[in-house]
């Protein structure tokens, strides 16, 4: 599904990622861990097509060359990235915005009533109350509300590949469980794949993990199954760096 080969990424002439190889198959859940500044967000932004990064190598998604596509086209292929820095968009009403997202990502049209039902069902997964959609997108939201808003957009878009960039930072354990519930919902309903970037193992106990990648100074230095998380938790990042 997602195939990254020999990826090199730089920002303002500074190399951030080097010789990254990574494959995510349909339905798999991958965890990307690493210290601050290791290049985790850069990888996520590069997959999504942030124009600020200079990207060399290959990123393929379902045999499409992503590097020649703009972010909108990547989204249309079914890629979703929840941002670490979530921007506030004042004046854009959430309801209208989500309706537009639905229209852009689904061929099947819904009547306004059906869409409302669909939206309500998705909001219930996240315990959002109905007044929420009257607000402006992320405007004046708390950190936790912004994260949940990202996940609500994900539930509307129903992507094939879900990339979550530190979605668990700043969330309490209840909110983390809700987010994991939403991810598991799409994994089950849509066989979505997941690439999850995190510092913490807290969210991992709610998810079934297939692979773990450890990123350090722009390179993947260790890969393994779920047990690698426990290893990292016990020994710390530093002990892996020494090797």
């Amino acid at each position: 599904m997602l195939k990254i080969k020999n990826l090199q990424v730089s920002l303002n002439k500074k190399n951030i990622l080097d010789k990254i190889d990574l494959s995510v198959k349909s339905g798999e859940t991958h965890i990307l861990m690493g210290q601050n500044g290791a290049g985790k967000s850069t990888l996520a932004q590069s997959i999504m097509g942030n124009p600020n990064y200079l990207v060399k190598g290959e990123i393929n998604f379902n045999s499409h060359d992503l590097l020649i596509l703009d972010p909108q086209q990547r989204a249309a292929l079914g890629i979703f990235l929840s941002f670490q820095q979530i921007l506030e968009i004042p004046g854009v009403k959430i309801y209208d915005y989500l309706k537009l997202l639905y229209k852009k990502s689904h061929e099947k049209k819904l009547t306004p009533i059906k869409f409302k039902e669909f939206l309500k069902e998705r909001m219930e997964i996240l315990n959002f109350n109905e007044d929420f959609i009257k607000r402006s997108l992320n405007h004046g939201f708390s950190g936790g509300e912004k994260k949940k808003m990202e996940i609500l957009q994900m539930l509307i878009l129903e992507p094939k590949l879900i990339i979550l960039d530190e979605i668990d930072s700043g969330l309490d354990v209840d909110a983390i469980e809700v987010v994991a519930k939403a991810v598991n919902f799409l994994k089950k309903e849509k066989q979505s794949s997941v690439l999850l970037i995190t510092h913490y193992s807290r969210i991992l106990k709610f998810l079934e993990i297939d692979f773990v990648h450890l990123l350090s100074s722009g390179k993947i230095i260790k890969e393994g199954d779920a047990s690698l998380v426990t290893d990292i938790e016990n020994k710390g990042f530093a002990s892996f760096l020494k090797k």
């Binding site: 999504m48 097509g49 942030n50 124009p51 600020n52 703009d70 972010p71 909108q72 990547r74 989204a75 249309a76 979703f80 990235l81 941002f83 921007l87 968009i89 004042p90 004046g91 854009v92 009403k93 915005y97 537009l100 997202l101 852009k104 990502s105 402006s136 997108l137 957009q153 878009l157």
Partner: protein, 469 residues
């Protein structure tokens, strides 16, 4: 912007707004301004002598007054190439059945019926220079509200008319007020009796349909003590290559404890000079709100003002200026605090795109008598490309004690990061830009009646399609 894009945009406009119906004018004075033309306008309207004299005096004032030279260039206006009066229908039509088909067609294409469904009884529409149709709501009559054309008001309510007419904007105020005073035709007269609350907005549509036709409508509103009403006017105009002029005068009297809102959405075609003098006089504890959206025209110069003449008076201005394709939107507001404990607020937002220029030009004046007065001014400009520009000319003159006057201004661009964020959710660049621009002006748009808000957002989408790429 590429030429082809510009053409596409113009075509889109022509399709949606720019069209002209065949002219069928009964009286046509040809071009140019003279005492003869002005006298003929007055005679055709069978006006009392004092009005005819007022017009002729105003014409002299117009000749004496210099063109304003402190703002955008008005050099291209050729007063000899403007037609000053076209009378289209002799009598006002009372019901839709009586309205000529081509006028109805015009309204259809303008989308008037949409608004009309909700506000049918309140619709006053001006076709060319005269009110072509008016259907007065029964409940307006019952409440003693007068809502009619200026011509009718002069005939039927001459004393009331004379007491207020040109008392707030005298002919000598500026060259274009003088021109309007001499050549005025059409416009609305509104009188709201004391303690009367008008639930639905009083609505009026103006448009220019004849090429090279000046439109000089005049509006006079008196909101008597303790009354409450909302007046809405919306304009779209056909696309013509000749230069055209819209020089209106609006006078609003807001008596003690009254509350009045005046909403305007103007979308003149790109060849029109839109030079309007709007002024309100606000008495004790009265509230005047201007909501003003300027989307079209070649050059707009408009600075609605509030004279806060008694204690506790409040004036507010919410405005959107949208400048595109080398248009100049030179707009703002004037708040004159002339009594103690008066307050005012100005929120001005502008969007400049494809070589458009938006200027905020405003005045906050606090007289010596206006102690303990408050004013807040907020100007936010959004610039969408490097060809466009914005400027702020705030003027503050504070003489009163203990005045609190705040001014904030910001200039911003569409942030690439926000575009990327929205595009990563599957929106194309046009959709993302439309959302960001609509979001920027939303604080003003939400104050508009729903169908205007919807139409405004559609307009922005249309313009993004023509401009982004």
């Amino acid at each position: 912007m590429k030429k082809s894009n510009l053409k596409k945009l113009n075509d889109a406009y022509a399709d949606r707004f720019g069209f002209s119906m065949p002219e069928k004018s009964l009286i046509n004075f040809g071009f140019g301004l003279s005492e003869k033309v002005i006298a003929a306008i007055s005679d055709a309207k069978q006006e009392p002598t004092w009005m005819k004299e007022f017009r002729l005096q105003s014409l002299q004032t117009f000749y004496q007054k210099k063109m304003p030279n402190w703002g955008p260039s008005l050099e291209e206006i050729d007063f000899d190439k403007i037609r000053y009066f076209i009378k289209d229908t002799d009598i006002e039509k009372r019901t839709w059945n009586d309205v000529p088909k081509e006028i109805k067609d015009t309204f259809d294409r303008l989308g008037v019926p949409q608004a009309e469904r909700d506000f049918l009884a309140g619709v006053k529409a001006q076709y060319n220079s005269e009110v072509a149709y008016s259907s007065l709501q029964k409940e307006l009559d019952e409440q003693g509200i007068i809502f009619c054309s200026m011509e009718e008001a002069l005939q039927k309510h001459e004393d009331l008319f004379k007491e207020y007419f040109a008392k707030l904007v005298p002919a000598a105020d500026n060259k274009f007020a003088a021109l309007n005073s001499a050549a005025w035709s059409g416009g609305s007269f509104v009188y709201i009796p004391p303690n009367t609350h008008v639930k639905r907005p009083l609505q009026s549509y103006f448009r220019i349909n004849a090429a090279r036709m000046g439109q000089f409508e005049r509006t006079l509103i008196i909101a008597d003590e303790g009354s409450n009403a909302h007046y809405v006017e919306g304009c779209t105009a056909p696309v013509y290559s000749e230069y055209s002029l819209h020089a209106a005068v609006v006078e609003v009297f807001v008596k003690r404890n009254a509350r009045f809102r005046y909403t305007t959405i103007q979308n003149w075609s790109g060849n029109i000079y839109n030079l309007v003098t709007k002024r309100a006089k606000v008495f004790a504890d009265g509230v005047m709100e201007w909501v003003d959206g300027n989307l079209g025209a070649k050059t707009t110069m408009k600075y609605p003002s509030c004279f806060l003449v008694e204690e506790g008076a409040y004036g507010e201005m919410l405005s959107i200026a949208y400048a595109k394709n080398n248009q100049i939107q030179d707009t703002g507001a004037k708040m004159l605090h002339l009594a103690k404990n008066t307050s005012s607020k100005i929120i001005a937002k502008s969007v400049s795109i494809a070589g458009g220029r938006s200027n905020y030009r405003g005045l906050v004046y606090v007289s010596k008598a206006a102690s303990n007065s408050k004013s807040k001014v907020e100007c936010d400009a959004l610039i969408l490309d490097s060809k466009s520009a914005t400027a702020t000319y705030p003027d503050m003159k504070i003489a009163g004690d203990n005045a609190s006057v705040a001014h904030e201004a910001s200039v911003s661009e569409i942030e690439e990061e926000k575009l990327f964020y929205l595009m990563s959710r599957g929106l194309n660049k046009i959709e993302a830009m439309t959302l960001l621009v609509a979001g920027f002006i939303e604080p003003i748009v939400k104050e508009l009646p729903l169908e205007y808000a919807v139409e405004l957002n559609r307009l922005i989408e249309l313009e993004m399609e023509g401009s982004v790429g």
